[in-house]
Symmetry: C2
Subunit: 234 residues, 2 copies
DNA sequence: TCTGTTATGTTTGCTAACGAACAGACGTAT
DNA sequence: ATACGTCTGTTCGTTAGCAAACATAACAGA
């Protein structure tokens, strides 16, 4: 039983609960390490565990017939995987892949469902988060429709930074391209442009953010919009 | 008190309830006419009523800062407006505009919340629909990212047809363009192409679908994908 | 019938992003 | 050291869709 999570960081959703409620919930959780490349969720699978990251980053990826996977959002210690269980749906809708190693609290699906029913405070918090997730989906839908690649790339980099609290992101242009649903060449061009503006620099497999405010200005409104939605709701 | 809704058509979500449960729920509803252009929901407003269309079509529209409104989905008698109340969120996230006149059952927000808590069967059905709505959002996000305008237009026309059970759609190219988040000229071009393939024809303010199967083939996978999601879940 | 408004058609030039292919630079393992 | 795989840079030709402007056609009301 885990009573102290500070040694591994903590999950911001669970932090919104009262100490009592959180401790009780954590008693049903297990701390697991999540490792780069690990797949926590496969679309169509029955949900066995719900994850609350406390460190590291997980990508939430959608695939539609005839197209590759692309990243809907990144999930760090501000969120959870997967919310659909809140609605009583026990089938995973998306793929979740670890993009930065770390740790997560995980809880068996059945116990999670039980806890939701027992603890109104818990479902209150998580319902609000579910609403954030829906709004994020609408935001990225609009973003895909209206915003240029360079801005979308800037947005994605900021999302990484925000969730890792680090200015260095270990990722290749090819991976970024797949996340954004575009060609690698497109990312090379956009990243080159951001570098020329002295906002970022990169070498083989890692991107360094030099000017966060500049990058915010170069990104689309969606980064700030998502953050606002989260802060307003939670 | 409404005990018989057949005279006005019915709502497919409510039809999934047992007769008893539905009759009881409808007792709290009021049948109202919804008229072309009427705005049922404005983003940011407090939710006063929840609507269950029984006839007609409502568009669910999102706006992000710096860009115009575009249509996330169309809602007919297969759906409801707005689901966020299911999660206890009483602020409207999107704009809802009547695109085809008809009727809807409406229920005050407070009573709706009460009913949800009282009737597990009701919340079961609506939770499933909420999941459909989330998946639709992901689908349109991918659609905006990967699919060509002509296919997206075909998709939208099929969505209209499906919800109105009519091959004639009263709408201008300019309105279709706004819905899709593109220029009117783009729609003129795409619609011209669909017409040349003998799938549709159109005159001043109305589009007629001549070959539904051909139009399905010309549309993107998203139309069928959304229908499958709905049918699998409900 | 005339006139103003709305809907559709078409053009020109431009840009973002695509697909495909290739070259060089950097690591790492043998 | 060499060889191989991976990552990044660059090119060429193509296309979808943008922005703006203008032309035609249909309808509605005075």
């Amino acid at each position: 039983m885990l009573t102290n999570s500070t040694a591994f960081g903590s999950n911001r959703l669970l932090n919104l609960l009262t100490d009592n409620c959180r401790q009780n919930f954590l008693g049903h959780c297990e701390l697991v390490s999540i490792n780069l490349g690990e797949v926590l969720s496969n679309p169509g699978d029955v949900i066995s565990y719900v994850y609350f990251p406390v460190e590291g980053i997980v990508s939430w990826e959608k695939q539609i017939s005839g197209s590759p996977y692309w990243v809907v959002t990144l999930i760090g210690n501000e969120g959870m995987i997967c919310i659909s269980l809140l609605l009583g749906i026990n089938i995973r809708p998306c793929r979740a892949v670890v993009q930065k190693s770390g740790f997560a609290m995980r809880i068996p699906a059945a116990i999670f469902t039980q806890q939701i029913e027992l603890k109104p405070a818990l479902s209150l918090v998580l319902n609000r988060y579910a609403n954030v997730v829906y709004n994020q989906a609408l935001q990225i839908a609009a973003c895909n429709l209206f915003h240029l690649l360079e801005r979308r790339l800037a947005r994605l980099l900021l999302m990484f930074q925000h969730r890792s609290q680090s200015d260095e992101i270990h990722i290749t242009q090819d991976q970024l391209a797949k996340m954004l649903g575009v060609r690698r060449v497109g990312v090379t061009k956009a990243a080159g442009s951001l570098q020329r503006k002295n906002l970022i620099s990169y070498i083989r497999g890692s991107v360094i953010i030099h000017d966060m405010n500049g990058l915010k200005a170069a990104s689309c409104v969606c980064y700030e919009a998502d953050n606002s939605t989260y802060n307003d709701m939670m």
